[in-house]
């Protein structure tokens, strides 16, 4: 099988492993650091629950089909709005409103500019990837924390993963929508992928996969502490980074464009779910966010609590 590629499959697989390892380790440690250090603003009332998972899944299933039919400029607009929203929510309170919008403008603007001007050489591609990787990692770290600090529990993450695995399998190997999207996005502005180019090949992992890895590790830490986070980290390295990257050595995963597309969640989500079941049995009830903040595990600065003011209440005659 390796004779079909300009670069041997073994080499490709290990390069892909290097890319996914870098991405997953960075996103998970970044998300954990953020969780420990930053307490995000949240709406007056509202907690992430099971119905939110359904809503997110519906969006995940619907969006690729919309992307497939939307013109490129509209997709770019949509991605600009998505990245800008996630980055501003995640980092406004870290660096301030002005700097965060300046940073978003520079990163997004540079990526759009590079997409149109720098794709003629490997070095150009690599610069484009490097700059995009920063955007993707920052976005995944922010959204993972938005969900976990918004009340998403490890239980939700585990079930969410199983649903993603089914979708990933169908989208990659069944209806080929993932392949269509990869072809449409590669080299386009704000491709939601972490990756790098070596020689003639691009190697990458989708932002959705990275988001899920970050969710799993941070939710494990929030729920049960450091021991659970370490276990989740190992599961992520083995089943999220290594297994998908090295799977082409054992399975034929070549799509109609002669690309290798690996449905990562098919490997990771079942392992994550089993890991969750073990943690649940081992540690018992998950901690609430209030319990997490009160624990020594949280180094987050306590946000000021607004003092209540007069409001309608039952009358006394």
């Amino acid at each position: 099988m390796s004779s079909e590629f300009a670069i041997p499959l073994l080499q490709q697989s290990f390069i892909e492993f290097g890319v996914t390892l870098t991405a997953s380790v960075t996103v998970a440690t970044g998300a954990l650091y953020y969780l420990r250090r930053v307490r995000m603003e949240r709406p007056p009332i509202g907690t992430f629950n099971g119905r939110d998972i359904v809503i997110v899944m519906v969006l995940i299933i619907t969006l690729p089909f919309l992307y497939a039919v939307m013109p490129s400029w509209l997709i770019t607009c949509f991605l600009v709005a998505t990245f800008a929203a996630s980055l501003s929510i995640g980092y406004r309170q870290v660096v301030g409103s002005g700097p965060v919008w300046l940073g978003i403008g520079v990163l997004v603007g540079a990526n759009i500019w590079e997409s149109h001007t720098m794709m003629g050489s490997v070095a150009g591609w690599q610069l484009w990837w490097a700059e995009l990787d920063v955007l993707v990692l920052l976005g995944a770290i922010a959204v993972a924390n938005l969900y976990v600090q918004g009340g998403m529990r490890l239980q939700h993450v585990a079930w969410f993963g199983l649903a993603l695995a089914v979708y990933d399998l169908a989208a990659s190997l069944g209806i080929n929508v993932t392949a269509v999207l990869v072809e449409k996005f590669i080299g386009a502005p704000l491709d939601p992928t972490f990756g790098m180019r070596f020689n003639v090949n691009n190697y990458g992992i989708g932002i959705g996969d990275l988001l899920f890895y970050a969710l799993f590790v941070t939710a494990s830490y929030k729920a049960f502490g450091w021991a659970a986070a370490r276990l989740a980290f190992v599961v992520m390295l083995v089943f999220g980074a290594a297994a998908p990257a090295l799977a082409p050595l054992a399975f034929t995963l070549i799509d109609f464009r002669n690309d290798i597309l690996i449905p990562s969640q098919v490997f990771f989500a079942p392992a994550a779910f089993l890991c969750y079941l073990w943690m649940k049995r081992r540690y018992g009830r998950e901690r609430t966010m209030a319990e997490f903040w009160a624990s020594a595990d949280s180094g987050a600065i306590q946000a000021p609590v607004p003092q209540p003011e007069p409001a309608p209440e039952p009358a006394s005659a």
């Binding site: 709406p43 009332i45 907690t47 009340g151 609430t288 003011e309 007069p310 209440e313 009358a315 005659a317």
Partner: protein
């Protein structure tokens, strides 16, 4: 989280547009708030904005009031026979009504409500429940309420209570208010139901019975009148009960003057950090107010307009002047038997223009309620004695005569204050007169026997509800009965 966002948006849209709020949606928001607090321990930032206030910018506040007034007047013009006549008689164009134009519309009095109750009922709303004022300050007025109003107020009350950590699912609220105060008791029960708080509606039973219930029933919140609180404190002291005998974390009172002496004693006896003194009134439900740490009364302006009018001229009162509180609850917070510019005859003193620095500084304020306008004692053009001054001074007597029973009148330019003998027993008339002088009250004392005490001044604790069967002896602290 997404669903909750949509519910909050629906609520906000209704509040801004002035349409009736969906009470089912509000009930689900209470559930969301409970789950949020269970997860995070507190609501998120800007929780108060969810309830519609406070509005910091005076211009914005004025515009909010203008919209609320016009919306309310339009509806009353169409559906309320009383106000259709009144607005027509004053040539009011409801679409152009503003705060200044309000002065042309006469205030509504309790007499209006008592004489023509049917004319206040809006034709487009089915009645559900009637409630009457307790009548301690005169003939009771009867107010009809719709099902929507009862569901709305309880949901808003529960939402506010949960967000402010005043109602928790593991709380039990003991309500010692008159069972005839049907709106108040129904709303307390309904709010507790929504907040999943236990609710014990006891009524104005004997203080010993209420104390037994507090001691052994696990009550964590007590809602009552100041006068009944006074009786509870007196009974608790008599029985030797102290903070360790109660599980209370919050005591709220309303409907009467709460003196600092009584509040301090209640905190010590019941083991709570403070007594929450809340302003509310049957006729102007759901507009309410609360006392801040600097003893200002801050009104909730999201559900109604509060005017402070000069007692003599009826014009907006000057800073530092005494004023009667006139309240207009906005539609859609009131819809069955609404009032417009209702003169509560509750007197406050306008703040003298100082900048507020209390924890509720972004909400306009006045002094605490000083008493009813008809109970003011005028010693001279600028020398007015308020019922609060008298109550505070009497309840500060070393004899601790709680609740204060007195009669006061002006005779020859001096206050003639009639007290029951127990109020000055072991203290003496001379010392008592000195005590009142130190409080700025130059009084002549008249002492009557203790059996006449209740006839001197009725309090809400007099609305006693006897039972056929009484406990043989107090269940708790019986060993300390003197």
């Amino acid at each position: 989280m997404f669903e909750t966002g949509i519910r909050q948006l629906r609520m906000a849209v209704s509040m801004v547009s002035g349409r009736r709020l969906n009470t089912g949606n509000l009930g689900r928001l209470v559930d969301d708030a409970l789950v949020t607090i269970a997860e995070f321990g507190e609501p998120g930032a800007d929780a108060q904005q969810l309830l519609g206030g406070p509005i910091d910018d005076p211009e914005e506040r004025l515009e909010f009031a203008r919209r609320g007034l016009r919306r309310t007047a339009r509806r009353l013009e169409a559906h309320s026979p009383f106000y259709a006549r009144r607005l027509a008689a004053t040539d009011t164009t409801t679409s152009e009504l503003d705060i200044t134009g309000l002065q042309a519309i006469p205030v509504t009095t309790k007499r209006d409500l008592i004489e023509r109750p049917g004319d206040f009922r809006c034709a487009d709303v089915a009645v559900h429940l009637t409630t009457r004022t307790t009548g301690t300050t005169g003939t009771p007025a009867e107010i009809w309420l719709s099902r929507y109003e009862m569901e709305l107020w309880s949901a808003l009350g529960a939402l506010a209570g949960v967000i402010r950590d005043e109602l928790r699912p593991n709380d039990i609220m003991q309500v010692n208010m008159s069972s005839r105060a049907t709106a108040a008791t129904h709303l307390a029960a309904a709010s507790c139901r929504l907040a999943r708080t236990g609710c014990r509606l006891l009524g104005v039973v004997s203080p010993d019975e209420a104390l037994d219930s507090l001691c052994s029933g696990g009550s964590t919140i007590l809602s009552t009148y100041p006068s009944y609180l006074a009786e509870l404190v007196t009974a608790a002291r008599r029985r030797g009960l102290g903070p360790g005998d109660f599980e209370l974390r919050r005591v709220t009172v309303g409907g009467e003057v709460l003196s600092p002496s009584l509040a301090r004693a209640a905190c010590q006896a019941l083991g709570v950090p403070q007594i929450d003194d809340i302003f509310s009134m049957t006729e102007v439900i759901p507009v309410s107010g609360r006392i801040c740490s600097q003893a200002h009364l801050h009104y909730d302006l999201s559900t109604g307009l509060v005017e402070l009018l000069d007692l003599e001229t009826g014009e907006p009162a000057a800073p530092g002047a005494l004023a009667t509180v006139v309240i207009t609850p906005y539609f859609p917070y009131r819809d069955c038997m609404p009032v417009f510019r209702y003169d509560t005859r509750d007197v406050v003193r306008c703040l003298a223009g100082e900048t507020l620095s209390c924890e509720m500084a972004n909400t306009p304020a006045a002094s605490q309620i000083l008493g009813k306008a008809d109970s003011l004692l005028r010693l001279g053009p600028a020398d007015v004695i308020t019922p609060r001054q008298l109550t505070d001074a009497i309840e500060a007597l070393p004899t601790e005569p709680w609740p204060a029973r007195y009669r006061a009148a002006v005779h020859g330019g001096r206050i003639r204050l009639t007290l029951p003998a127990a109020a000055i027993s072991d203290y003496g008339e001379t010392a008592a007169r000195q005590h009142f002088a130190e409080a700025g009250l130059d009084v002549d004392l008249a002492i009557v026997s203790d059996d006449q005490a209740e006839s001197l001044r009725h309090t809400r604790s007099d609305l006693r509800e006897p039972a056929f069967a009484r406990p043989q002896a107090p269940l708790v602290g019986a060993g300390h009965v003197e």
